[in-house]
Amino acid sequence: MTKRNGYFLFVALATAYFYSKDGDVTSSVYATGAAFALPLALAAMVGIMCERTGIVNIGIEGTMLLSAFVAFFVSSLTKNIMIGLICAIFTGAMMGLILAVMAVAWRMDQIIAGTIINILATGLTSFLYVQGRTIPSVFQAIEVPVLSKIPFFGPVLFIHGPLTFFGIFIILALYVAIYHTSWGLRSRAVGEHPSSADTAGVSVVRLRYINVTIAGAIGALAGSYLSLELVGSFERGFTAGKGFTALALMIFGRWNPLGALGAALFFGLAQAYSNQLMIDQVVNIPTQFTAILPYVMTIVVLTISAGKVRPPAAEGQPYEKGQA
């Protein structure tokens, strides 16, 4: 039995045990866990798309923050959450494009480029933020007919808002695209050995531009999900480090969309459970400590996976034609 199957078996047994104790609570905890996990998983997809082509994107946090802001305030001004969503996705794509310009065209240090994105998003959102605005409604949950009636799996997997289903579709599509399409093969080649990819006729610069821009749009989906579906509001510093946690999940999931999704689900579930333990007053931990749990877990996860995973080889290096 591989280690991964061991994890699955452990989670499945634990779930079955909790479900046998109290079915409704367990279902709702898992559904909450899935809702927590989705923005992390989507944000991790941003990282995967960029890093597979050799661009380090630590600006995910800023992309999510600014697009959540745009999603919320445009929805609030136009009284239409669809328009808010579209504007947010456009914003995210623009932020991806800005990162691509900095990293590809200007050959800037990519870590610093990403930090600029983050600080810019923080500055813009805190300057333009206005208190007391509301949106007409959040994206309402859809119950998938028949499937949502399955015990346990129904409420956990098939009663969610439209952005959740769309997000899951994107994660699965990205998995297929990276490993089973020529675009994916080219992207991976560019991320591992750009000069060889260039020799084989792949435009390194163009592919990096396209992927980082699309990744920005996915980051915007994660941000919009937070402000338009999960929470329905916006505050300063709204994303609370999710973009960075996502990077850790990406590394833990070995730059594989399904791996990152699994890591995100585990993470979301852990958070949902710790919330539930607080509600049930099983344990009495100060709220400050439950709040820092995700950050501690991020560090632990990275420390465990460090040295055992290998990032794309050309990551973080600007490409110049004719350089080996």
């Binding site: 380090v56 630590i58 900095m102 200007w106 800037m108 240090d109 870590i111 610093i112 480029a113 930090t115 600029i116 600080i119 810019l120 923080t122 500055g123 813009l124 805190s126 300057f127 333009l128 933020y129 050995h193 609370a240 480090g241 960075f244 946690t245 990077l247 850790a248 590394i251 100060p286 400050q288 400590f289 709040a291 820092i292 950050y295 501690v296 991020t298 560090i299 990275l302 420390t303 460090a306 040295g307 290998r310 990032p311 080889a313 050309a314 990551e315 973080g316 290096q317 600007p318 350089q323 080996a324």
Partner: protein, 362 residues
């Protein structure tokens, strides 16, 4: 080696002397950023000229204003210095915020709980305790970077949130001011309060002196040479027999100690106690200041004074012109973008002085 490493990144020397170009770029960046922000202020329906006038008049227009500006600048000089020391070693310490917070809280604890000490002993002890705790927080990231290969950007950011949570807990339970509704520590003993000479805060001079010392260490000593070599090319440093791991850890410890000192100075000189609402953003400002000052220990001082001045004048500006004080955050972001992006640099100089960090893998 199992994997092929690409050629090391372009190695550029930081400026040894202040030539015209390295001065001009930050100044133009500041002016362009203010112009861009003025457009946004105009779009919000306020008058940018009134806003800027009020901002700078409050900050630099009177002796008291300059004193307040230097007080605001002190932690910024130190957090900028902390980020700069890290960058010189190729480490991007985004955790100056958390290190600064732990220094601020530790200094508040030392300031409150030591009784009967004269000021010239109490103040240094509290400062050292603050620096020590800042250094421990950064040391965790340094250790994980050196021995586990975990990227310092992630660990420092995570530690920012962790420190904030723990400090919040400590200030609201064990260290809370007795019989107080607000979450904050008691006020520090009078012996721990740093003196102010004719509006000029003592802390500012400590910060400037430390910047000069760091400048000397980096440029003139063996340990400085090790840090610079590791920062420019860690493979070459390793080949030359420098212990990269030890250098990474000691650079992080130094960086964290400086940031922690920044928090301690803020507590002992300005706030006189710790509360979760204090010290916000000081560490992040350090990133902008370090890059604005071209990662030069002395170059960060003017940037810190400029931003400290804007922070000092922001509240009055809101009163006079209705522009939100968060304008300063926006200005800093724009300045950072303009200073680091080679837009202006390319226009004035052939090459840019890039700060370099490292990827996940190494």
């Amino acid at each position: 080696m199992s994997q092929i490493k690409a050629a090391p990144k372009e190695i550029s020397r930081p400026p040894k002397s202040f030539d015209v170009g390295s001065w001009l770029v930050p100044i133009i960046a500041v002016l362009v950023a203010m112009t861009l922000a003025a457009i946004l202020i105009k779009l919000q329906g306020s008058n940018p000229i009134t806003a800027y006038k009020s901002l700078f008049k409050t900050a630099f227009g009177s002796a008291a204003g300059i004193g307040a500006t230097l007080g605001k600048s002190t932690p910024l000089v130190l957090s900028g210095l902390a980020v700069a020391v890290g960058l010189r070693a190729g480490l991007f310490n985004i955790g100056a915020q958390g290190q600064l917070l732990s220094g601020a809280l530790a200094a508040a604890w030392a300031g409150v709980s030591f009784h009967g000490l004269p000021g010239f002993i109490h103040i240094p002890i509290a400062l050292i305790i603050g620096a020590f705790f800042g250094s421990i927080v950064a040391g965790i990231s340094g250790y994980l970077k050196a021995y586990r290969g975990v990227h310092e950007v992630i660990t420092t950011i995570m530690l920012n949130s962790i420190v904030m949570g723990v400090a919040d807990y400590l200030a609201s339970h064990p260290l809370r001011e007795p019989d107080q509704f607000l979450t904050r520590t008691s006020e520090i003993q009078p012996s721990a309060k740093m003196p102010v000479y004719a509006h000029l805060p003592l802390g500012f001079f400590i910060a400037v002196a430390l910047a000069a010392v760091i400048w000397w260490i980096l440029g003139r000593t063996t340990s400085g040479f090790r840090i610079e070599t590791v920062g420019r090319n860690r493979h070459a440093a390793w080949y030359a027999g420098i212990s990269v791991k030890r250098t990474v850890i000691s650079a992080m410890l130094a960086s964290g100690a400086i940031a922690g000192l920044g928090g301690a100075v803020e507590t002992l000189g300005i706030t006189y106690r710790y509360a979760p609402a204090f010290n916000l953003g000081l560490g992040f400002d350090g990133i902008t200041i370090a890059l604005l000052g071209r990662v030069h220990p002395l170059g960060i001082i003017p940037g810190a004074i400029l931003i400290g001045g804007m922070r000092a004048g922001a509240a009055n500006m809101q009163f006079d012109s209705g522009v939100a004080p968060e304008l300063v955050d926006l200005l800093m972001a724009l300045i950072l973008l303009l200073v680091t992006a080679p837009l202006i640099t390319r226009f004035f100089k052939g090459n840019s002085n890039k700060a370099m960090t490292s990827g996940w893998g190494n």
